[in-house]
Assembly symmetry: D3
Homo-oligomer: 325 residues x 6
């Protein structure tokens, strides 16, 4: 497996019987032992690239191998594809870590939002600049600046929806589009509050979850003990104090209410229920975007020939069907 | 109270001490007796016109009066406005039923959707004609024709939302606008199904509820024993049979699924949960339109000087606030 | 393993150390691999006959074997019984598929209702013929004819109760017996409605579930997207149209209400709740028969020496005890 | 209003304009005052006889009258029937308490089970005598003897079902009939346990509720603090000790389990859930009899011309319809 | 009713037939009209003093009277006590407002915590001073100073428990006693966190509820839209910023977690659940003190001769019994 | 592995690479087979001593070994410690059962309450002797004597809390301490009832659960069919009869109510809800002690270097954090 080969086989192109070479991301890895009387170590792997993922075994791994490889590292592999229990699987013949000379990076192998993070962030920033109410604009700017860097990659959730690179920014932008439509359809809604609510409602998620390349590893202590909803509400307090605004003003009150109430019910994590028109709107904009994205994400990762997707946890654990009309 | 007077005092213009004359709708009426040792009959009334409604008493009503007047009849009244327990109230001095010569009709006195029923129905009809899938178009047309007449006036609910003249057609049209937006934002949604689902989801409501001028008097027996959801699904079956289509086709299955699942959960009346992308969309389009309309309706009927509306049953029994930013 | 041997060992007669020969149904089968460094294929089987079922392993299965055998096929086996982790298990020494000359069929190996399907269907048919109300009789006949063939084998459920060959017809007949008792005890109940409700309430189950020999393989698309309750209600609509009856008549309304309400609550799948005396009766007749059958089925499949049965999902996940008085 | 008149007008025969005389039970009574500036006392009454009940007013009641009359006392009345707010009502002209010479008693005026208490009790006693298991028979006899006297009149509940004279014994007997049917249909059920369970399940109700002539006035302290379920289970303990039986025997255990589990779920008052076949049967026998009796009682007390009964609390608050087929 | 009379009759000393004079607080008042054909105004009052409260009527009130008197004002009354429907009631003969010369104040007539507010506040302050962790002590001091003034009178709730003058401070002090016991019994609990949690958990209640003399009139806008739990958590943020402490320190995190989680469940208003030992302790200290106080408050306001108290909403709506052992 | 060696390595002192010898309790054991084509038996073990527990494998176990060893037996082991999948594990080289000459007993290896059972029982007994009400004292003594022996070892639960040797007595004593505090803080609570309630509330647990050395093996039939709450209430009935006290006295009623209501809600197993002040207190004393003990137990069994404990089932499945302040 020297350097410079042009070949790189995509996972979705593998067929039974293929001998192949390529770069892949180790998305998951477990060191196991065979059950033979003299047990031997082997690696149970999930390999992925931008086209999909596949299960793989690396038999007779050495002690050094166990310490060399780990989840989220990119490797070059020579392997053989075969079918095991109706599923295509890879038997790894040779494996080494990718290095700088290979010219590959983790981001080549991960799932991303369909729009580039820079574009999404630009849309959000233009929206913030267009907010008419000065205090609201300043508070939103303050909170946004806290996470602007992380928004390049942060997902919107661990697994429920938008759980990928740039997912949170993408969620915000789609919600802003829906919010724009609603403000036009129902002029009694105040655009400033709808837009500020959308941008702030999940703004503390990058501080709630520890993620790498859009994949959530764990929740932070503050994420577990405070939660992103209360964290965001406190950022508004912090913004008001630091910007020398009145922490008891109606603008501050309205922004905190929008954040705190957007999960709608106590059992879903909101300590108060929506009591402003824009808070009602925000909850439904969020729900509609999240639920439809769950459907869209699940359809995309379900093979075309399958009539039913797997069950979707966030949708009463129901699967979706593809009906030919 | 002869004919031909020009004067007609609007309810919202009444002030304490006014002596006035005008035509009003009896929105509610109860015959009562005083508690004196020789009890006397009187009428406890709610009068309304397009500007609002007000409580009124007609003391010393005769036996004939008790039989002459009834809810939903239009009357001409000479009265005096006074304050009782902080509320303006009318003491009725003279009262008679309006007749043909008065040139007034019930519809002058009732709450209506903000768009004329004819326009709404035209929008729905154009949408139906634009459906691309022939069987879907024919089935939707069949069902629509069943209620086209009643859609001129039918409300969308007894009290929750859109509970007024033309409310159901208005609900459909607003949902179609939202559906149009969503289909553009998320092209994986099939427009035919989204639009057909919107038009059919509440199509059996005029058969579930007995209403007059947009005010629901009661539920029909079929409404109570079958419910509008199952009724609409059966109309699809009926349409397929009468149009000689395959009752087991995917088109019929999809339309019935959209109808049956649109309340999302069993405890909300849906025997199945959404399992098609368009069914998920339909539920959230319906929820968002209904909830925001509840808010809008309540704000419109709450006096401008009041900071808080009354509690809204369909929104966790929460009131809405008007915050000055 | 030639033909014509008289011997055929019943599963319940197997003891540790037995070498035996017999015909069995493969109720479940999985192709697996050993964990040795050169993994070998083997078959993990569940064998069954009318006396019970037992776990079995067929080591060193060839590639041909993997394609020869499958669930629901009948095989002839030479095996050895041994104890593994406190449980009797079979080591398969030789295996071949049964063929026409063996004179065995799947039905010899499956669990069945304790009464022959023909008898059950005859009871149901006599009951239908005895219905006094002409329209009800005609509608029930129409719906019954749709599934008469399948009732020979259809189970009443995937696993909860009556989950075996002819289980649905058996459920109907036992309910008819209970209904007959109740109509005599409480003459205010209308026998026609009670009997029609019993026959129609689960009539669409054969269309909801795809089953073979009384064992449910899966739910149909219509079963998932519409559900057997709504399907049965639509068959009534279809019957009325095809028989040229009034779809809005009280008879049609009553039958549809009985079907739609028989699960009693929204969270159990009924879009409306019982609002006729016979609908209340139907729900409790159904519940009583299903729950007691679950108990009876579980006791029958629990070995006599065990004081407690396994937990029964449909009964709050409680086990049943056999107390010696 | 002297003695010995033959006339006695039944309530259901009263028509507008009647002047009449008769004996009636005061089922409810409240002393009120008119709102005149010199308020006067009057009596607001509900009169009843075996044919029904009616509202009545006794104007200008004296202070003596207020102390003379009380609920559950029988009175002779001379009155006039008139219509007030669409309802027939009685204006009391003269009133006196009934005395021994009138030859009337409270029981002439109350609602009763349709079978005489003596007959019902005889059926229960014969059933007890037929119990085959000696200890069970002795324990049931012991418990039954505690309430035999009260069973002559005790209702089964305050208002839910069988809420009348002899209602509890009637409930037991109807359940025994249903139990008999089930034991024949499903021979794996042990008749002794089913019958003992039926007789014991509500046996402590007369000690839980303080009733007079089948009308519950209140719950006893023990009824509130212990509840009839735990009380009955303790009676079994007491019986075992007093009869010198083993309190830890399976027979005692089974009887206590039947009693404790018959409400099926913790939130319905059962500290344990059914775990014996007969306990499952008992719960459904009880539920079926109670629910169908609620329906039957409500239909009987709803005027024939009304299509819908009032809502029934014990049936998800649903009303029942009378559909003409 | 001149000045300087010595007499002042306590409400609990009133007996039927008494003519009396005294000062009382108008706790509730409604202007009503008689139902006579010429309706007259009268006042329906609840009078209270420190010994209890009683219903009263002031017949023939003048228009001036309607505007002179209002809830929470102290009046001098000459009245007569009589019994109406089993209850002692006052007929007001003369009434005037108390003025400065009368030497009475509202606080003489209201219900208070059994310990003086000054003492309670002193206990809290000593506890704060004893906190060992400097940042915690400073933050608690900052928050406490915000409400120190209001703690003189603030109740702990509108009606559930400690709903009286000084009730909140009393609740805190009793909880501190219980916390002290627990910290000694279980040394693994950190005293600083338990005590800080107790003092902070309801610290924002005076800002959530608008109260006068310990009687809650209404909730503030911030109280409704943010809630006292989130408000208190934000005060901690504010304190940290203003005191120039690290807002992300574990001390800040711990205090916010204690506040946010103390209602234990989402449906009870806590956005996060207890995840520190002291947070678990805090929830149960709060619950135990609140529930036992509800019981104690209800027993105190229930007349000694009554065996059962009214139902207590916060205790599953159960009443308490006084059993003589 | 001869007798008399001084060495005995504690589990918590084991390090990777150690060869060691020691006595341990087999806390759990499963006989397994390797997946090799000629499968071999091996023992999968959990070894424990007072310092902790560890996973172990005994490869190539003989048929005799499979029958020699079993859970809860003490063994002497020669082993080697190595790391497998990040966890220290033992490879057993030699193993034999401990015998009398080894001078070790099971109790040396089990988890116990931190106070000796004798001391705990002495505290309970002194409390019983101090009860002032004679009947209550006699009844509590009667019930206590039933389980005094078993209280030496009985745990308070299978796994939720106090699930160890002497755990039930420890739970009682800690609750008595808390009860003592509360009775002093709130003198309206009757000490006799609080203390009797604490001692009786779980008194039937040793009869509900079959345990050995504080480890619950299973529930008894009575435990499943009656439950410890109803069993304890029946013991009070039994005590009253055997002691010739009035079974209907308020003392008996109060004790039974305390026991029956202490789980607070029907869904938590209480057939009645608390309706005496002491019953409310008892529920919260029990809850507070159980929940805080869960926390304390979990912290003690979580390695010091781990910031988060595992999730605690009885606390909404939440983990506890150790925050450094």
């Amino acid at each position: 497996m020297g350097r410079g080969e042009a070949v790189n086989t995509l996972i979705q192109d593998l067929k039974e019987g293929d001998d192949f070479v390529g770069f892949y991301l180790i998305k998951a890895m477990e060191a196991r032992q065979t059950n033979s009387s003299v047990p031997k170590d082997y690696l149970d792997l999930v390999l992925s690239d931008s086209s999909g993922s596949i299960s793989a075994k690396y038999w007779d791994a050495s002690k050094t191998d166990l310490e060399t490889f780990f989840p989220m590292c990119v490797v070059k592999i020579q392997g053989a594809a075969h079918v095991y229990r109706d599923q295509l699987q890879v038997k790894v013949l040779r494996i080494r870590k990718a290095d700088e000379n290979d010219g590959v990076s983790v981001t080549d192998f991960i799932r991303s939002a369909p729009v580039a993070a820079e574009e999404l962030i630009a849309v959000i920033q233009r929206t913030i600049e267009s907010l008419e109410h000065g205090d609201i604009r300043r508070i939103v700017t303050f909170c946004f600046d806290k996470v602007k860097e992380q928004l390049q990659s942060a997902p919107a959730a661990k697994s429920f929806h938008h759980a990928y690179f740039g997912g949170l920014a993408y969620h915000m932008v789609r919600m802003l589009e829906l919010g724009e439509f609603l403000c036009k359809q129902r002029p009694f809604l105040q655009r400033d509050l709808v837009q500020a609510g959308i941008i702030l409602h999940d703004i503390a998620k990058p501080a709630e979850m520890i993620s790498e390349y859009g994949i959530v590893q764990d929740y932070s202590n503050a994420g577990k003990l405070i939660g992103h909803i209360s964290m965001a509400a406190q950022w508004v307090t912090e913004a008001a104090i630091k910007l020398e605004l009145d922490t008891g003003s109606n603008a501050v009150l309205a922004l905190q209410h929008l954040i705190l109430s957007h999960h709608n019910l106590g059992e879903w994590g909101s300590p108060v229920q929506p009591q402003m028109p824009e808070a009602v709107a925000l909850h439904y904009i969020d729900a509609m975007d999240a639920k439809l994205q769950m459907v869209e994400d699940m359809l995309q990762t379900t093979a075309d020939h399958q009539e039913w997707t797997p069950a979707i946890r966030g949708l009463e654990n129901k699967a979706m069907v593809r009906l030919k009309l």
